[in-house]
Amino acid sequence: MNEIDAKACPVIAKHIKVALVGQPNVGKSMLINSVSNAHLHVGNFSGVTVDKTEVLFDYKEYHFTVVDLPGTYAFTDYTIEERVTHEYLCNEEYDLIINVMDSTNLEKNLQLTSELLSMNKKIIIALNMTDEADKEGINVNAEYMSELLGIRCVKVSAATKMGIEELIDGVVKTYEQEKVDSKLIFSEAVEEEIAAIVEYLSKHKHQANNSYRNIAINLLKNNKKTYSRLHDDPIWTELQPILIDASKHIELHHNSDDIKEAFAEEYSSFNRGVVAEVVEQKALEVKATLTDKIDRLLIHSFWGIPIFLFFMWGLFQLTFEIGAIPMDYIDMFFAWLGETIGATISNDDIRSLVVDGIIAGVGAVVLFVPNIIILFVGIALLESTGYMSRVAFLLDGFFHKFGLHGQSFIPLVTGFGCSIPAYMSARILKNDRDRLLTLFIIGFMSCGARLPVYVLFAGAFFSAEMAGNVLFAIYISGAILGLIAAKVLKLTAFKGADEPFVMEMPKYRLPSLKLIYHTVLTKTMMYLKKAGTFIAAASMLIWFLSNYPHNLEVVKSYEIKIENAQSEDEKLKQENSLAEALLEQSYLGQIGKFSEPIFEPLGFDWKMSVALQTGLAAKEVVVSTLGVLYALGADVDEENKSLANAISKHISFASAVAFIVVVMIYLPCLAASIVFTREAGHIKYFFYLFFFTSVTAYVMAFLAYNITKIIV
């Protein structure tokens, strides 16, 4: 290469932009991860990647940009995620396509490939999951396949990192070579018609980017884009009758009145031919596969749902039981940290800011990291084993009664981790009404950030043996409320026809420890990072709002009382009421007092009211606010330092139940609300959501408070 050229455009000269395309769940994201050491989210169900993601890396002397596109079964624009892929492939600039395939199911995967072939792009095929194919006794002859299709095919395995270098080398070679026409052959009838159109186009020396053959195929397939391009051309008047005749001929040949179906059959028979030539299946003994065996139990028409509920119950038991073990140590650590650091700061205000503000606030949130980790491991297992789709299958009938779609289960379960990815994953739902309905319901699935609130209250009011059950009950009742809300919305706001339920059930896969580790680590680090930044900042703000303005008169009046105190007990009592009085007239106290009348029917004191309001920023802040308020407040009794004790002492059981109900239902955090608004497509939906959740939360909490008061 000329040196001056290289300097003039160093990026373009050696830059390869690759679009990664394939059917859902063939391991596209995992392949990128093993090529580039990226950590894209990976799961075992269709619809993990819902938006395009770019990954950059260098290999030899090339800069690669790989665009990971959502999986798509065909160019049908069935769901939003599929539309993202189709639009990208048709309208964006890129150099070549890597078509990722599942080697254990080539015939189905080739359906998409045959559609890709009619685009004017260089393609390379990555035959992924070769390791799994080996285990199943399937051998794909990649060289022969390359020859048959006219496309380079490389055997790889994203899981074992086999063939990755060969694939990248193949990409470079394909990039450098001229584009080769594909060797896709149709039946005689179709070939005849293609030839006729090609002949017509070349006779008129039609100008086009794509080959005449591809144009002819696209015209016959009723491809809208090709049509509109030719529609304004003068040759159209002559071409149209030829096309009509051709379509009739093909439809007659296929005994169908649907040209798309006819073409699908054409592709399918070509693909069957290819598979018959290149795939060698060792005759294994005909025995049930592992997936068959597991499915016989897990989706059993009677036992399936009880088994699922048992798993969920077990998960929440573990979350509480095992999560509680390290909690004491974390609690002790932050108490020690507060004392140690507090001792080094002489200024009273700064010490209070650091100890009562930052350390108490952040500590209250970090305390729940063990619970969060267990919950995330549970969700990661659900996602990566393939069980998720089974539950969608089991629950579809039940969900359908409530106006939800079986596949809504996937965003809903994701919602137990965090609402943000849950809102995103609702894209797997095709119909906008169903998607909106699901978006509205996701908030009822309590996210990981709300777990601390529940663990705190469950621990404060119940024995350790019961707390796990209480936790499970909270989550289940949230989910049931969500279903009821779905039914109400379906009957009122989102009336309409149902979306069909057609879903692939992936093979069961044993997730690698590394995968689980990475998924959980990423999410936990996000939680900790949030605690260290956002929550710390919020705690500082809350500390400030709860310490200022300093009312010197109050302090003075109490100082006299404290000095005059007869006994130590009396002195302590006066000190406590001083702190309480100061807190009450602080900014935060004023806000709390102002909003107290609204929350009074629910049995909340002003501290709880404030915690709910700050919780609008992030749900963890509910706990950190309570932490700051009670650290500053009256509770100076040395033996009862923990927040849980403070809560059980100051809050009645009925108020606590009402509080939990509000946290369960009311508006998700700020970040989630923003994503919700974006996914719903209009700001008005945010106001609907705000109104809907606030009213529901208030009414339910009011009922819960009064009923609990009567019972207990």
Binding site: Y78, S301, G304
Partner: protein, 75 residues
Amino acid sequence: MKTLIDCHKACMVKVVKLNAKDELKQRLISFGIMKESLIEVLEHAPAKSTIEIKVGKMRVALRAQEAQLIEVEKV
């Protein structure tokens, strides 16, 4: 006329016709459910609201309403 929902568990059938409309039909086709394809019924969900089938090597879950649109015959 027999449709997929009438089939018993572990029953092997061949697709005769798809009565689904446009988009759904395309979807079924892209899953490999089209004329002449062989389908094995694997499992019914409670109350037969949803069924699991095997087409080629892929397992697909279908709701009863969708299964009714697939005309089949015994092989």
